[in-house]
Subunit: 525 residues, 2 copies
């Protein structure tokens, strides 16, 4: 049988299964998950690898079992994470990608995927107010990778020794320049509520966790910009900071849409500080970056034109399929510092890059996009944003973002409404509210009110965990919990995706209130 | 329209396009590519992002244009890279993955994908002769990422300071232990012919390129193990090595299937050296790792049972779709050093990990596989190997590998046969030969023979580039060239994929000989 015949047979047979599964998810009485826990799954499902080829029927039984035992995001009630069901055009994009099976490392192997990447990067750069011809960027396998690439690129550009001698070379250079020995290390600054990938990146890049200076946040979860400046000054002035906080600031990460509260740092104010101290300003917009598509909400990232790089994940708010993340750089030439020669792979097209204009340099760079990052082979994930953008238009994607804001506000209004005055309490809320609503059950029972503050917090956190576990048992909704800043314990973090139905959200809020009230009655009643 | 209806419509309409495109590729007169260069493509094709939503017809025109202007691997004549057309079951796996759209970072979000990953990791560990219950591993977005994770994990386990203080902390600890200041840096060893991702990883991890000690190779491209030991000893002994080669050895990378020649390092001999000096031994089997599936050729990786970690890419030799790469670790617990707490994401299932047996520790770790690496969100790429393995069985995959070896040997025999005695010359060849055949046109014309050796090499390299360019113009075959070790200039590096037809390969060899002869006649005739 030819590959085309086998592919045709598989895809048509599989498509019947997947469409049926999506439809099952769309039914109002569907469950998000078949199992309430991993141990339950393990008790009931085993996967095996066979020594001999399996029959087609056995393979399809296998595929059906994978569908049946997975989380079904098409229920619209998987509100647990920062992604949800993909848009149908995304499924088409994935099919196209897997059919092409082209590697995005060099343009000669994947001409159209590279062109799609370049087009999307230029489109994103324009949304940032950057010169699209000078900007450049890449899809990366996730927001963490995009943040890491920004950090590595900043290190390469700020410290020439990083390339050959690594951190030790940087230290030697700084000592030679007269920096005090205990301050000879690069420091990066990020808010206390930023994503843990900044810590992981610092660890993975050989900086170490202590090179990450956590800047306090205000009550709405935004970086305190005055504190940022104080910490920068203190780090540079050997005497003012404790030894472990001394160093050479080189990088600031601002967050557009924090992971728990959904806060947006003030890019305008932070960029002024960064210009003053000549620091690379990266924006982790993995979650909130898509506000750039919205006419109404792009203002939350006002100042992005003065930043150096941006991570943005269309696989979250915009519902592209996983993974679809971009690292975009205002000065594309800064990425060249990451390149290494690889004679067997990277060739230059003799027709491009001869003139040293910024356009021809851009074209030369785009011949071998893989050279600009730290991986080699790459999936052409940009195609997903390319088709999504054209399916809905910039305007449609912006309106999608707007719907999310409206819906989240409605849910927030509900949780703090008269109806739930005695049974739910709200977590801190940024203004305007992005797509997360944090709240938890509370109680006015006498026995609870008599507890010390810390005991109350513990009781509320316990109840939150109980609610989470109960919802997981019921399997109608999936929702996560998280500890909130300020030592106030754990809250339900409800992620309101723009496509969610308000009725479902209202049902969930009610379930949470009822489960919580029942818990408190049993515990304190 | 519901998501299921829209998906159904898109997928059936797109499927007609993709199957037609695959069929077109399968025709004997098909071209690998529509365009001969990126500049030609750029002159003829433009991609745009629209402000308003596009019509369905416009979207499908767009998708058709992406297919029409891409490389078609189903021709079987794309022999340019270490991957080729994916197996049809791979396309099914990708469809399933994109439908599920589940994130592999935590098991609660992607129970079946995490189980598939765990099952494949155990299967690969068994092929290595490791204890599957103690081993662990992850899919990574490519072989470079797998190699990088191994390096980071080795750093974390060997140097506890890496986590918090990074390279500077390592240096301070080493100085405190009495290491001479100029030798206070971690060194890794890899062969001169290993993949450039080892250099990139060292750069990205803050070690710097100078921390990579390149070990010379023998004539077949295998690491010279005696030289490895000499270099290790010299690095540790301050006086014997030049200052830039002094340091603390911690990691050796052995290559199973080198990028250009396809050589396999002697794992048995290297592992003895590593045990002697207590060094982490990683195997980059991104390309050659699948020999483990073959009863006949697994011996090329004999000694793998004594290694610490393995990178293997089923998206290359085994024709899973891009990307499908695994990093597997003999001691899964070593991965725990990479973890960071993230209260909003990583929760522990109260039912697992209570007992501290190796099984329960394994289960606890598998609740949050994302915590073991440096990214956060992950695509469930293991599903591709899982379905591929069951479609063909271990035996079928092994036979696939065997076919590749046989085919490559036939091509090598042809290029060095009587027929091409005067027109082709062979590059260095490992014994046994893996899937690459390196050769180039040569000539016995008098004017060429009178040239100095270095002039001959230059002329031969120029001819190789000319052949490459001519084939690109003709677009019937895609094949790459690479500089070979030993300053012998550039050669055609033909990648013989197991599914390639011998007739096509013989035609290509003939084309190369004829184009070369014509070039030499014009130049020297």
């Amino acid at each position: 049988m030819s590959a085309s015949e086998e592919a045709e047979k598989y895809l048509s047979r599989l498509s019947a299964l997947t469409i049926e599964w999506i439809k099952r998810g769309e039914q109002s009485d569907s469950l998000v998950s078949r199992w309430a826990s991993s141990s339950q799954l393990r008790d009931n499902v085993t996967l095996d690898l066979s020594e001999e080829a399996q029959s087609e029927d056995a393979l399809f039984d296998n595929m059906r079992s994978i569908l049946d035992n997975s989380i079904n995001p098409y229920t619209g009630r998987f509100l647990d994470k920062l992604y949800s069901a993909p848009r149908p055009i995304g499924l088409a994009a994935e099919n196209l990608l897997s059919t092409l099976n082209a590697n995005g490392h060099v343009m000669s192997a994947s001409p159209m995927l590279c062109l799609a990447e370049e087009t999307c990067v230029a489109g994103l750069a324009k949304l940032c107010g950057w010169n699209a011809e000078e900007a450049d960027g890449l899809t990366m396998p996730g927001g963490s990778s995009s943040n890491t690439l920004a950090m590595q690129t900043a290190l390469q550009n700020r410290f020439p020794a990083f390339r050959k001698q690594g951190m030790l070379g940087i230290m030697k250079d700084l000592m030679r320049e007269g920096t005090e020995i205990n301050a000879c290390r690069p420091l990066l600054f990020t808010s206390a509520q930023s994503h843990y990938s900044l810590d992981k990146a610092a660890m993975g890049c050989g900086l170490g966790l202590e090179s990450v200076v956590k800047v306090p946040c205000d009550a709405q979860g935004r970086m305190d910009v005055a504190a940022l400046e104080r910490l920068i000054i203190a780090a540079k002035d050997g005497d003012a900071a404790p030894p472990e906080r001394r160093g050479v600031p080189f990088f600031v990460n601002a967050t557009s849409g924090s992971t728990v509260l959904g806060s947006f740092d003030n890019l305008q104010a932070i960029s002024e500080v960064c210009q003053r101290y000549r620091l690379w300003l990266h924006v982790d917009g993995s979650w909130g970056g898509p506000v750039l598509f919205s006419e109404k909400w792009a203002k939350l990232m006002s100042g992005i034109d003065k930043c150096d790089s941006l991570a943005i994940n269309p696989h979250k708010v915009l519902n592209a399929p996983l993974q679809c993340s971009f690292a975009v750089f205002k000065r594309g030439s800064s990425l060249e510092a990451n390149s290494l020669d690889a004679g067997y792979l990277f060739h230059t097209d003799s027709q491009v890059g001869i003139e040293s204009t910024s356009r021809s340099r851009h074209l030369a760079r785009r011949e071998n996009p893989g050279a600009l990052a730290y991986g080699c082979g790459r999936r052409g994930d940009a195609l997903k944003l390319y088709l999504l953008w054209n399916r809905y238009g910039r305007r449609g994607l912006g309106e999608h973002v707007d719907r999310g804001f409206e819906l989240a506000q409605r849910v927030a209004d509900l949780t703090s409404s008269e109806k739930y005055k005695h049974t739910l309490e709200s977590g801190p809320r940024p203004d305007p509210l992005f797509l997360q609503v944090c709240f938890r059950p509370t109680t006015s029972l006498e026995e609870f009110r008599r507890l010390r503050k810390d005991e109350q917090i513990e009781a509320l956190s316990k109840c939150t965990r109980h609610v989470h576990a109960t919802l997981r048992q019921r399997r109608r909704f999936a929702v996560d919990f998280a500890p909130l800043p300020g030592e106030i314990g754990e809250f339900i973090r409800l992620v309101v995706h723009p496509q969610t139905s308000f009725t479902d959200l209202a049902d969930l809020v009610q379930d949470i209130a009822i489960i919580g009230a029942e818990y408190f009655r049993t515990t304190f009643g």
